[in-house]
């Protein structure tokens, strides 16, 4: 059955965003190798299997790198961008909110939350242990 579909229904990109709209941040876990991947895909980048299922990550992560996009106030002002290593393993781009862009440091423990940004849900992070 080489022509049988390897996944059912909507593609992972649409499903990811639909889940986010429901307030659910999900990543994929591979049933074949047990690894986690992000961003969402049709096959596992660790082993090639299409046996992927959605799981709720702990939301905890560590800042792997950080930068401040320097902009004039009229262009939106300074903006933080980070790469966060999730507790489950995968890395994702995001930004840390709740502290100034310059205060975000590599190695900082952070926690995910979903905000609304430009009318769409977006995963951002806050310093761990702080009120969101």
């Amino acid at each position: 059955m080489t022509n049988a579909t390897i996944f059912e229904g909507d593609g992972p990109e649409k499903v990811y965003h639909e889940l986010l709209k429901q307030g659910k941040f999900r990543i994929q876990r591979c049933g074949a190798c047990g690894g986690h991947i992000f961003f969402p895909r049709v096959i596992c980048t660790l082993c090639g299997s299409a046996d992927l299922a959605w799981i709720a990550p702990s939301g905890r992560g560590t800042v792997y790198s950080t930068t401040v996009l320097r902009r004039k106030p009229e262009s939106g002002g300074n903006l933080n961008l980070v790469l966060v290593d999730l507790e489950e393993g995968p890395r994702m781009m995001s930004r840390v909110e709740g502290i100034s862009a310059e205060e975000v440091k590599i190695g900082m423990a952070v926690e995910a939350s979903i905000i609304e940004d430009k009318g769409a849900p977006l995963v951002v992070f806050h310093p761990a242990g702080e009120a969101k």
Binding site: F39, T67, V68, L81, M92
Partner: protein, 390 residues
């Protein structure tokens, strides 16, 4: 081994540049074809001898077609692989295979863009086009751009290895000192470490002077088989090794921001050449940002991982330093029309022919050319040498 069959089997026999800096009133195609014509006549050939072409464009997805049309040629080998700025270094290997297979005799590799005087798109249009045709769906919502991506790599390197902003500034100052020796370079005013450090930050830790400029410019080179190269006008510059590697597209998918795929492309290119970094006389690297030079010196094996900052410190890669790097002034100070890989290749050829003028590296017989594309995503390494290196 197949690799050994390709080593030195093909030579660069002609090079040409046009429209470097600002090319007012002329189209990207016009300056590219001027460069192509110069490269072909530099080789002692005519455009009618060109039966293979390799080219790519940032804007046009079918760029080989208008190029062939404009040149009025009927190539039997056509390559328009687009790997970003390293494309023209990456184009060598398929051309070598085609030449060795006897599919064609003379391959023209060319590029040109008026990124400064008549950009095809505004920055906002570029971003909008990228969102549509080259989406980064898990990064764009965070307003990432090219500079923030390289900044994240620089910040991580600084954190992990103690590299400093002053080390990065050394790269910019070394490039400017080389540019001051190159009459063709676009930015030749004196530049100090302090000025780089004091320049406006674009994305921490990168300041305006850590970023390559945007200029116009076109370049071209001609490849032919080694047996034919001997009978042409110029001293042949042989391709001893060439390899490309791609590991990711979005910066968030890069496994380790301090290790680029240059480690892999470099290893394969050096293996094909049967050489190592200590055999190399002159180094031309794609310095889109100052961190690139440090990363590539490490990944290609000119120093250990993490020691790139110390390697470039105290004028290490400036004229008179321990290793001549980016002798034309680089993308930081010489020329950078969107994709720079073409110009590092041409500069290496000029050095190996002894045509470097005031910036000539004495006795240069071997060179590394290393191109970068995307967001540290695509890497292509070429090892070039004179007849003495064969």
């Amino acid at each position: 081994m197949m690799n050994n069959n390709l080593r030195g089997s093909v030579a660069i026999v002609g090079v040409g540049q046009a429209g470097i800096g600002e090319a007012h009133g002329r189209t990207d195609m016009e300056i590219m074809v001027e460069a192509a014509q110069k490269a072909v006549s530099d080789a002692g050939l005519s455009m009618r001898d060109i039966d293979g072409i390799a080219t790519a464009s940032v804007g046009a997805s079918m760029w080989a077609l208008p190029t062939v049309e404009y040149l009025g040629i009927r190539p039997k080998f056509i390559d328009s692989t687009m790997l970003g700025g390293c494309s023209f270094v990456s184009h060598m290997l398929p051309a070598m295979m085609a030449l060795n297979a006897g599919l064609c005799d003379n391959v023209l590799v060319c590029y040109g863009a008026n990124a400064r005087t008549s950009p095809t798109m505004t920055f906002a249009q570029q971003e909008s086009r990228r969102a549509q045709f080259d989406p980064h769906p898990y990064e764009t919502p965070y307003q990432s751009n090219i500079v923030t991506s390289y900044a994240l790599a620089a910040a991580r390197h600084m954190h992990q290895y103690g590299t400093t902003r002053r080390d990065l500034a050394e790269v910019a100052v070394a490039a400017r000192k080389w540019a001051q020796l190159n009459p063709e370079a676009f930015m030749r005013d004196p530049l100090t470490i302090e000025e780089v450090l004091a320049a406006r930050l674009i994305a921490d830790p990168l300041s305006l002077r850590d970023c390559c400029m945007v200029s116009d410019g076109a370049g071209a080179y001609v490849l032919t088989r080694a047996d034919r190269a001997k009978h042409l006008k110029q001293k042949p510059v042989y391709v001893l090794g060439n390899a490309s590697a791609v590991w990711h597209r979005q910066i968030s998918s890069m496994p380790d921001l301090t290790v680029t795929a240059a480690q892999e492309s470099g290893e394969r290119a050096f293996a094909m050449a049967g050489m190592q970094p200590s055999d190399i006389d002159v180094v031309e690297l794609y310095d889109a940002f100052t961190i690139n030079t440090i990363l590539f010196l490490e990944d290609l094996g000119f120093c250990k991982k993490g020691e790139g900052g110390a390697f470039v410190a105290n004028g290490g890669i400036a004229p008179g330093g321990r290793l001549p790097v980016n002798t034309n002034g680089g993308g930081l100070s010489c020329v950078h029309p969107g994709m720079y890989g073409m110009f590092i290749t041409i500069e290496a050829v000029r050095q190996l022919r002894g045509e470097g003028g005031a910036r000539q590296v004495a006795g240069a017989e071997t060179a590394v050319v290393h191109g970068n594309g995307g967001l540290l995503s695509a890497q292509a390494t070429a090892i070039l040498g004179t007849e003495a290196a064969l």
